[in-house]
Subunit: 249 residues, 2 copies
DNA sequence: CAGGGTTCTTGACCTGGATCAATGAAAACT
DNA sequence: AGTTTTCATTGATCCAGGTCAAGAACCCTG
């Protein structure tokens, strides 16, 4: 690559190179999973020009805060995020975890302000889609609009299933469902379906599933004792996928 | 004392008049709340041509079933609906209630098949938006697409709040939140915020809030004893809105 | 308007998972 | 290195809300 004497971080270099060639999205490892899928190449080129790839965050840094005015929709590029909504007292609910290729911030479109808070779970980066400009170029790109709607719709059905989980499933069913959901998402991204790392804390998992941390700890122990899964700190190794599936309810 | 009798006939009459004049949307009582808001009159005229207003359902009849191929998005015209998602055994979760002006079926866009089942809670009617044709005309109407996205986004944030309710709130907080949500929605539709009819059964309420029917019954009794609300069968009369708000958590 | 179903209420009891408490194991800092 | 702080596990106890049971009030439909 050029600029051998430049000491800028790796991501900056990539961003620059991509920008010069106007090929950023096409050459992205997440292309298959991401917004540009199905766009014509000149539409894609136009989309490329408005996407800002610079944004990088460290652990616990927030991508946006509750009620901040909608500026951009974000696509996770690397790392992972959680979103939370808060009740009047201190309580809050972890409403979702987001991995590379997934959209964050779409619940802000209606009210034009974010309705949740998004925090990085580890060092992470995002592609930023400035909403104003996205709307402008989207006006002439029905496929882009349809892609966005499709994404919204996908998150909507995922949330309905989460409601089923929170409202009707037992602690064990919740845990099994959660692990399989992670497994599937890692697989979709080309990683192993059976071995992966939990980027979130036990507390985040517990909160997300409507359980206490202690319960999560006990459940994980129980699943491990049963030989279904092996845990070691944050790493997960699913030993019996089928048995796990039968626990989902 | 069915509240359907108050509402349904009115909307039916309007529907007839509207159709004759090809002004359906403009002259609809729900115009302020509905999709066409903000469209130019020629765009609206075009939208009018694809909307089917005929559809009417009786109590318990399903508008669409889980996994049926996506045909249309629906807007409630009169009456009320519930949507449910089912777990592998018999359990199911009531994921939402839908009132006039609200959209049903948007979670089908991504997978092109409905991801929930929608049932009428009483005699109800809908406007049907054939999705194929909606996409076609939407391609040339960015405002329409944006309206749809906005609707999706609105339901998304509502669902996140429901996750907070299901995961973190106590039975009493759930009940208070639910009653106030109904109150607000009736008010938005030009009805009283303090007196209205529950179109759904105790069982549906309980299910939706992740509670047992008996708990709902007891909570309603308790709220009534406290003088916050008066119940008589399906009718609700909120006596102390403020106190109710302070119970929402 | 009788009778059979369904839905709602109320009481008595029980349990899954929360809470409390104590300890161990990692990180993060100095 | 050691020290502090956060995070995870494990055990003991408790309670909010579920379950079971039995009426009561409300439908329907003939």
């Amino acid at each position: 690559m050029t600029q051998a004497n430049n000491v800028a971080p790796l991501f900056m270099d990539i961003a620059k190179v991509e920008h010069e060639h106007h090929l950023a999205c096409q050459s992205c490892a997440l292309y298959r999973l991401c917004l540009p899928l199905g766009l014509h190449s000149d539409d894609l080129a136009q989309l490329d020009t408005i996407i800002q790839r610079s944004h990088s965050l460290s652990r616990n840094q927030s991508l946006f805060d509750y009620l901040a005015p909608l500026k951009s929709i974000y696509v996770v590029r690397s790392g992972a995020f959680k979103t939370t909504v808060a009740a009047s007292n201190g309580r809050e609910q972890v409403t979702g975890f987001y991995f590379p290729g997934e959209f964050v911030g779409m619940d802000a479109i209606h009210s034009q302000s974010y309705q949740s808070t998004a925090k990085a779970l580890e060092t992470s980066s995002v592609c930023e889609l400035p909403f104003e400009r996205l709307s402008e170029i989207g006006a002439a790109m029905p496929q882009l609009q349809m892609q966005m709607m499709s994404r919204l719709s996908k998150e909507l059905s995922a949330d309905k299933n989460l409601m089923l989980l929170l409202g009707k499933k037992t602690a064990e069913e919740k845990m099994a469902t959660f692990l399989l959901s992670l497994s599937r998402r890692f697989q979709d991204r080309g990683f192993s379906a059976t071995e992966f790392q939990l980027s979130m804390s036990r507390a985040d998992i517990a909160n997300h599933l409507g359980l206490a941390v202690e319960t999560v700890s006990r459940l994980l122990g129980r699943l491990q004792d049963g030989g279904l899964v092996h845990f070691e700190g944050k790493s997960v190794n699913i030993k019996d996928m089928h048995a796990l599936q039968s626990l989902c309810g």
